[in-house]
């Protein structure tokens, strides 16, 4: 039996399965990160002293990673636009850049972590470091997941383009929505952890 609403929009919501599914997934992700942001606020307002993030973390490195992630969001949306223009090579170019920028983000993040660990700054050292590693670690895991998904759509997953273009475009739109959400989370993480 064929699964309905794969490429056709549902008559009740006006959405395809993938569109509705990815937004509901992102709603659950909002609650996941929301719980941790709530934890951060709770820890901070109950602390007598709270360190200034800039005194512990490197603001230039954090800002650089922010620029990297925003740039990857731009290239991700350009992937979608390229497919809309029936341009598979353009899609592959921008998807390759997106993955490259994602890996650069992870490389810089791992450098930051290694630097912290080399100075004995582990999560167990302070509440600030505990919440810093928890929030950024969870975010980094989301980046890794995004790289795997995008890597699949750049490689074997792109074969779908030749058999069902609409379905492939819908999949890339869903992958893009996830990636922009990951970018959006970092947009809040950067000032909260590094600047305040």
């Amino acid at each position: 039996m064929e699964i309905p609403y794969v490429v056709d929009e549902r008559s009740d919501t006006g959405l395809t399965n993938v569109k509705l599914g990815i937004w509901l997934f992102l709603a659950s992700e909002v609650m996941l990160f929301g719980a941790l942001f709530s934890t951060y606020v709770l820890l901070r307002i109950n602390a007598v002293e709270w360190p200034l993030g800039a005194n512990i973390l490197s603001v230039p490195i954090g800002a650089f990673n922010t620029i990297v992630l925003i740039s990857s969001s731009v290239t991700m949306v350009l992937c979608y636009a390229a497919l809309k223009l029936n341009n598979l090579s353009g899609y592959k170019k921008y998807m390759g850049i997106t993955i490259g920028l994602s890996l650069l983000f992870l490389f810089v993040k791992s450098y930051e972590y290694a630097d912290k660990f080399s100075h004995g700054d582990f999560p167990s050292k302070s509440t600030f470091l505990a919440i810093y590693f928890t929030l950024t670690g969870l975010h980094a895991l989301h980046i890794v997941a995004g790289v795997i998904v995008n890597g699949y759509f750049l490689g074997p997953g792109s074969k779908l383009w030749h058999t069902n273009k609409t379905q492939f475009i819908n999949r890339i739109e869903a992958a893009g929505l996830y990636w922009h959400f990951v970018d959006l989370v970092w947009i809040f993480l950067f000032p909260v952890l590094y600047l305040l």
Partner: protein
């Protein structure tokens, strides 16, 4: 088809502009953090800029402008529960702001300060 393609090309120009605006706002975020203002004001400024950037990403990159009502309904519900999640723990502790709590791993300067009491 060509009209549709022209529409997509206009969107591409917009994406580049939004990307540029996000980068400029990132620079402003960092620059503002060097201003000599109170912690409260610094938090307000940083969060306003972050919210502006987030709105740009959600509205244009995630195409929330012109999205279906079902998505708006799901997001409205999410936003409500997000605020509950964020505010309930805070409102439950308004009488203890600034007082030390026994928090796991909080044994740096904060814990030493608390031991003197």
């Amino acid at each position: 088809m060509s009209e549709n393609a022209e529409h997509v090309r206009e969107h591409i120009k917009l994406y580049w502009k939004i990307g540029g605006a996000l980068l400029v706002l990132t620079v402003i975020t960092v620059a503002v953090s060097y201003l000599n203002v109170s912690v409260f004001l610094a938090i307000v400024i940083a969060l306003v800029i972050a919210a502006t950037k987030g709105s740009l990403v959600a509205s244009y990159f995630m195409h929330l402008i012109g999205e279906r009502k079902a998505i708006y309904a799901a997001l409205a519900l999410t936003a409500f529960f997000f605020m509950v999640l964020l505010l309930i723990p805070i409102l439950g502790h308004t009488n203890t702001f600034g007082e030390h709590k026994t928090i796991p791993n909080a044994h740096a300067p904060v814990a030493r300060h608390a031991e003197t009491h």
